[in-house]
């Protein structure tokens, strides 16, 4: 019997489990020990139930693709019988009555959901500072944020306290924290993974996806989760696909688009240099670089913050103090029950977005804001359609900067929003995107991870993972570990 080793991939752990070098219960106990040591300074976890997980581990079927593999779940995703709060006070005391379809699929593949991962409240934020529980810290520098909104999911993988986790991505919430923490994050194509059981933020943009330590692992998890779900009418019926099938093939003949709008002044110099070097590396692996243009990029932040807040203001109307979570003890009548419960239950960023979303949908402003944004969304989508007639994938930085300090942007929401510039157009266009480590930027004496973003055509995940894997295996970035935690 061997002990649990942090940072082992799903693929490697699966081999150890099958050869009985470690049992699923030992794996969980080792993981719990690692969490107890490393997570006290990071705060990636909100809650976890070791006993419940061990009960599942005892009967784990190791012949299944994810047999006995524990997976951390973002607090926006339902796991039957476990707390579900989207890191919000308004859902205090709420227990998920059913499994999200993505979680049910993971279970069917043998996985054990273990741990509730911290996040920005209702997935609104880019730093995990908007959690009602506590902030999560970046494993590379505890004074810095892990990114968001799936900051707990990314920080756990990057600190070796989870083999893999689920996150959700509405405007970059999987890819940006993966980039800032130095792990792999995949946002599948809209419709690829069912959203049933994911607490809705912006329904036309939300998508569940994996955060992992290797590109191959993200394919393994997508294999388990993808598919049509009768509970989500936007999930799509597609032929069965092994998303790891192209992994290991070389890049000869693939064309990689380099969008000139994504390489602009104002970026952190080391991010620019790392991504430039990554493009050269992809070329040395056989890919052909093609300069492309995504001319409507500059409008993406504007379009996103209208559409996402409009949808959020409608989706969050259900939190009214009647059916779930908390109710204000101050409520005198039905109106004050709504108004006071929501005032006490929602954090500041959520309130700000509800008010903005209400404004853009309100009488007299709908055409000028919401309808116009939907039309510009069409132009953004067309940019990608046109680009993908010329290239197999698009390469860019995931974020214009590495992890910023806690508190650095909390007073300036627009500044926080503008940092999402490279990830949000992906969601508006519905395409798939992958972030993986491509270098480090030294800030104040500390090396911070830089993320490379690869974007693919709708339902082009297999090609994306092939490119990502080839790059990953030709570099050592994914092997570096934060020095702060032993």
């Amino acid at each position: 019997m061997s002990a649990f080793t942090p940072y082992q991939s799903i693929a490697a752990t699966r081999r150890l489990l099958r050869s009985k070098e470690i049992s699923p219960v030992e794996l969980l106990e080792g993981l719990e020990q690692r969490i107890a040591t490393a997570d006290s300074s990071i705060g990636a976890y909100i809650a976890r139930d070791l006993e419940a997980a061990k009960n599942e581990a005892v009967t784990a079927d190791l012949s299944k693709p994810l047999g006995g593999i524990p997976i951390g779940i973002k607090d926006a995703i339902s796991v039957a019988g476990q707390p579900l709060q989207s890191a919000s006070r308004i859902l205090d005391g709420y227990t998920a009555p059913y499994d999200a379809t993505a979680v049910a699929h993971l279970r069917a593949a043998g996985a054990i959901p273990f741990g509730r991962m911290n996040m920005d409240e209702f997935a609104m934020g880019s730093s995990t500072e908007n959690s009602a529980f506590h902030p999560t810290r970046n494993p590379w520098d505890l004074n810095r944020i892990p990114g968001g909104s799936s900051g707990g999911s990314a920080a756990a993988v990057a600190s070796g306290t989870a083999l893999a986790t689920l996150g959700s991505d509405t405007g970059g919430s999987i890819r940006q924290p993966a980039a800032l923490c130095g792990c792999v994050g995949l946002k599948p194509t809209y419709g690829r993974v069912s959203r049933y059981g994911l607490i809705a933020f912006a329904s036309s943009l939300d998508q569940i996806g994996p955060l992992t330590s290797t590109v191959e692992d993200s394919g393994i998890l997508l294999n388990a989760m993808a598919g049509k779900d009768p509970h989500d009418s936007t999930s799509l019926e597609l032929p069965d696909e092994d998303f790891t099938a192209e992994i290991g093939r070389d890049l000869k003949g693939l064309r990689i688009g380099v969008p000139k709008e994504y390489f602009v002044d104002g970026m952190e110099p080391c991010v620019r240099a790392s991504v430039d070097a990554a493009v050269k590396q992809l070329v040395s692996l056989g890919a052909e670089p093609v300069e492309i243009s995504l001319p409507h990029t500059e409008y993406a932040v504007a379009v996103y913050y209208i559409i996402a807040t409009a949808e959020a203001s409608a989706n969050l109307a259900r939190f009214d103090g009647v059916r779930y979570g908390r109710r204000s003890p101050e409520a005198k009548d039905l109106l004050s029950l709504y108004e006071k419960t929501r005032a006490e239950g929602f954090g500041r960023e959520v309130k700000r977005r509800i008010i903005l979303g209400t404004y853009v949908l309100s009488s007299g402003y709908y055409d000028a804001y919401y309808l116009r944004a939907q039309k510009v969304r069409t132009l953004i989508r067309r940019d990608f359609d046109q680009a993908f007639t010329k290239v197999d994938a698009i390469v860019s930085p995931t974020s214009p900067e590495t992890a910023f300090r806690l508190g650095e942007k909390t007073d300036d929401p627009l500044k926080m929003y503008l940092a999402d510039i490279f990830t949000i157009a992906t969601n508006l266009a519905g395409i798939c995107g992958l972030s993986l480590p491509c270098g480090f930027s030294n800030r104040d004496g500390v090396d911070l991870p830089v993320g490379l973003q690869l974007l693919g055509r709708p339902f082009g995940e297999s090609r994306l993972l092939r490119i990502g894997h080839a790059y990953e295996q030709s570099t050592d970035w994914h092997k570096r570990r934060p020095g702060l935690i032993s």
Partner: protein
């Protein structure tokens, strides 16, 4: 593309208390003072969309649209009533309890 912001007063002003009422959200005087200029500045940024000619462009509601998703109209199992009610802040006799609506 610009990553730094001006601190000047925004061009857009919004009626925060009115919008908060529409959203059934009580806001404090402090929040009104903070949200007004912040949202104003976001709307200033959004204004750049007006530079674009969007005549003849169809709106996109969903990037990948599927139409007419229907299922068989069959009775299927749903979640147990008890499980759902137990998650409510106040329930009795198999119902959600709310303050009196009519006198």
């Amino acid at each position: 593309m610009e990553f730094s912001m001006s601190t000047e007063a925004p061009h857009h002003t919004i009626d925060v208390p009115y919008l908060a009422r529409l959203a059934r959200l009580e806001v404090t005087p402090e929040e009104i003072e903070i949200f007004g200029p912040q949202i104003g500045r976001i709307l200033d940024h959004v204004e750049q969309m007006n530079k674009l000619d969007i005549s003849g462009i169809e709106p996109t509601a969903h990037a990948i649209t599927v139409f007419d998703v229907i299922r068989e109209d069959a009775v299927t199992e749903s979640l147990p009533k008890k499980t759902i009610l137990e998650n409510a802040p106040h329930n009795a006799n198999g119902l959600f309890v709310v303050p009196k609506v009519l006198d």
